[in-house]
């Protein structure tokens, strides 16, 4: 009985062409008929009508509600009302986005582009930290116009889709719409003209994608600097083409290093310690990251090897990989060997320990290779230093 009364009531409202509810926090006004309207606040329920602007129904209206519901006019009104409501419901889909933000996390929920980047494996938190200027264009990217052509370009240069995330985290400027694919191709062509093989270029792409957004004339100058490396007393170290190429491939961050710092490191080796030019060239070819160390750190490490461990410059220049390990670690290992009396680094002598065995690797590997006991003995020694 109550349901029929509700239906009749609804129809009577439709006939009056009432405006639908404009706000969704609709005030629950009771009708004069005192029908028990079941209040359901969830929007899954059909729209609730407000009784504003309504003439009070009188008992006489009830008789007019016996018409069938399938009137065309009524249905049209209903569908018009439905469309207006649909448009208003679209606003529900949008999430509130801040106008200005430091992080991309605020925009991820509403941006399909960022979601696809995350699915590829791009680390948005590192980009926020290291490339703050890149946040601007990343939010405004368009998937089909910006991202897809660049991904295709990278795939053409032998980059798998699994590596796409890592390359974008290392250099999000690849996706900048201002950096066009023509510029990238120009850079790759320049490298090919300098006889870098396509395998080498592909490895550069994966490990050091920053080179794509560098300018070609600047790279030309930097490569020229490294080919004829100036040293302290107006001498130069010459690298052949193959040697230079292998240098750059093994240590690509030489391309964006501070050239003055590199020069000062070479000056330190030549002037302070007295390495000869062939020795320096040998050291740089074995371990090019040596040039990127801080000057003070390089000095301290050289001192450790030359004065504490009493290596000759010739031996150190041939075992230049020892500069790779942390200074404190090599120092403690040397003191441990000294306390056992096993610190023999000359090849002719008995009980010779090669520098690479001593310095390179973890502490467990060091104990195994040099046969100085277990790791517990080493830790017991560490607790006396």
């Amino acid at each position: 009985m109550a349901q029929r009364a509700i239906a009749r009531f609804g129809l009577s409202l439709i006939r009056r062409n009432l405006k639908p509810a404009t706000s969704y926090n609709v005030c629950k006004k009771r009708s004069l008929h005192n029908t028990p309207t079941t209040v359901d606040n969830s929007l899954t329920k059909s729209y609730s009508y407000s009784t504003e602007g309504n003439n009070p129904t009188s008992g006489s209206e009830e008789s007019a509600s016996d018409e069938p519901f399938g009137n065309d006019e009524v249905i049209n009104d209903f569908m018009k009302f439905d469309e207006e409501l649909k448009e208003k419901l679209k606003t529900l889909d949008s999430v509130s986005i801040p106008r200005k933000s430091d992080s991309l996390a605020d925009y991820v929920n509403s941006s399909k582009v960022l979601q696809t980047l995350v699915m590829f494996g791009v680390e948005l938190y590192t980009i926020e930290k290291q490339f703050k200027e890149a946040l601007d264009f990343l939010v405004k990217l368009d998937l089909n116009r910006d991202v897809v052509p660049k991904l295709q370009f990278l795939k053409k240069n032998k980059l798998t889709p699994q590596e796409f995330g890592a390359t974008v985290t290392k250099n999000p400027h690849i996706l900048d719409p201002q950096n066009k694919i023509e510029d990238f191709e120009e850079m790759i062509e320049y490298l090919r003209s300098k006889k870098f093989t396509s395998k080498q270029i592909a490895s550069l792409l994966v490990r050091y994608p920053k080179f794509l957004t560098l300018s070609v004339p600047k790279i030309d100058g930097i490569l020229g600097f490294y080919q004829k490396l100036p040293t302290n007393f107006a001498n130069t170290i010459y690298f052949s083409g193959n040697q230079l190429r292998s240098l750059i491939i093994r240590c690509p961050s030489l391309l964006t290093a501070d050239l003055e710092a590199v020069f000062l490191n070479i000056k330190l080796l030549e002037q302070s310690f007295g390495f000869s030019l062939p020795q320096i060239k040998n050291m740089v070819t074995i371990y090019p990251n040596l040039l990127l160390l801080e000057m003070k750190e390089l000095e301290l490490r050289c001192r450790l090897f030359l004065f504490e461990m009493e290596l000759t410059k010739e031996e150190l220049s041939q075992a230049a990989l020892v500069f790779n390990n942390r200074r404190k670690r090599t120092e403690t290992r040397h003191y441990y060997l000294k306390s056992l009396g096993r610190n023999q680094y000359k090849p002719d002598q008995k009980g010779y320990l090669s520098m690479l065995d001593v310095v390179v690797g973890t502490d467990e590997e060091f104990c195994e290779k040099c046969k100085v006991g277990t790791i517990e003995d080493y830790e017991r020694f560490l607790k006396t230093i």
Partner: protein, 374 residues
């Protein structure tokens, strides 16, 4: 060996307490402490993390995918099944994705508090407290002033500006007249004066029964800072010109140990510099305990194990606030200033015991005689 913790938030909740770490020499204090936290952060981020959060979104019936969970299952029966009806649905929150937020735990989540710090040049046990419970225990541990044991090596014949081998050497002197016997006697003398001075500084009337009881328990210590108090001095090795001593003391910093070695040199009519200071014991925390961790041994599992071990070692009585002096009227002697030039040793020799002569004065005379001759 307890079962390893694999769930990171659980490990984070448990990482709350006090433990000990071995600090090597030539490492500044703050970088060392922050590197402990860095290691813990790295390790805890490698464990299993909490699941990604979800958010409620209203979707049209046609757009709902299989992966979305409905919010209210009971409501489904009388909800309209039209094409455009909206349904609330649980969807993974991209905001909380690990690649968007980064690692779940950061350096700033851990609060590491140290009690007494060690110098750059000193090595040894460093007691350290993590987060709330740890900070609370560290503060109580400091207030308890448990005795500490140091091992210090000295080198006779040199005097430098800072009593170490690092600064400029200012004086050289002969040391051949020094024997182990002389050093031992001096150490006994210093130990005796310190113990007497500390008892005097408490201000308790020494003729009472209570004073005897407290002294027998070892609680007769001054309540305020009176400078370092040496409880025990021992000569451990003597290979001239190098010597090593073991110091048990209260309220002492590493610089006081170095000054002590310098003063020993002066009393012996030579000079001495300090080449090595190691804190071997800090209350119940020992340096050769497998639960005091080296930096290379720090990870979540071992830290948790050492915390549980030391919780049993630190018996409740050790950190208790002692109330035996609360209602006592203490008669304190003249306060000892905090100036670094004055130690209890010199203070003790200044204050004169009325009419009490000791053998200490004659001892000093003896030593001076022999050195002049030799």
């Amino acid at each position: 060996m307890s079962l390893p913790v694999t769930y990171a938030p659980k490990a984070f909740r448990w990482l709350n307490g006090i433990f000990a770490v071995y600090k090597p020499a030539d490492v500044p204090h703050y970088p060392f402490v922050s590197s402990i936290v860095d290691k813990l952060v790295l390790d805890i981020n490698s464990l299993e993390q909490r699941p990604q959060k979800k958010r409620v979104v209203f979707k049209r019936q046609s757009e709902i995918e299989d992966s979305d969970h409905p919010v209210d299952e009971s409501n489904q029966s009388h909800v309209g099944q039209l094409e455009n009806t909206l349904k609330p649905v649980c969807v993974p929150d991209w905001f909380d994705h690990p690649l968007v937020q980064g690692p779940r735990f950061r350096h700033s989540d851990f609060e590491l508090l140290c009690g007494t710090t060690l110098d750059v040049k000193a090595c040894g046990v460093l007691v350290v407290g993590l987060k709330d419970l740890g900070s609370d225990l560290i503060k109580r541990f400091d207030r308890a002033k448990l005795p500490r044991k140091y091992l210090a090596h000295g080198h006779l014949g040199l005097a430098s500006l800072s009593a170490t081998g690092e600064t400029k050497i200012v004086e050289r002197s002969t040391w051949q007249h020094v024997t182990a016997d002389k050093i031992a006697r001096i150490l006994m003398h210093i130990q005796g004066t310190h113990r007497k001075a500390s008892i005097r500084q408490t201000g308790v009337d020494l003729s009472t029964q209570k004073a005897y009881e407290l002294a027998s328990e070892g609680l007769l210590k001054p309540q305020q800072y009176c400078g370092p108090i040496i409880l025990d001095l021992k000569l451990v090795e003597f290979k001239p010109p190098k010597f090593g001593i073991e110091v048990t003391c209260i309220d002492e910093a590493c610089s006081d140990i170095r000054r002590l070695i310098h003063e020993i040199g002066l009393i012996l009519k030579t000079n001495a510099i300090c080449t090595y200071v190691q804190r071997q014991q800090d209350g119940p925390f020992l340096y050769d305990d497998p639960n005091t961790l080296l930096l290379r041994q720090i990870n979540v599992q071992r830290v948790l194990e050492s915390m549980t071990y030391f919780r049993h070692v630190l018996t409740p009585g050790m950190l208790k606030r002692h109330t035996h002096f609360r209602n006592e009227t203490l008669v304190l002697p003249d306060p000892v200033s905090k100036a670094p030039t004055q130690t209890l040793l010199t203070a003790a020799s200044d204050t004169q015991d009325n009419g009490v002569t000791t053998d200490d004065d004659t001892l000093l005379e003896e030593l001076s005689e022999t050195s002049v001759g030799g």
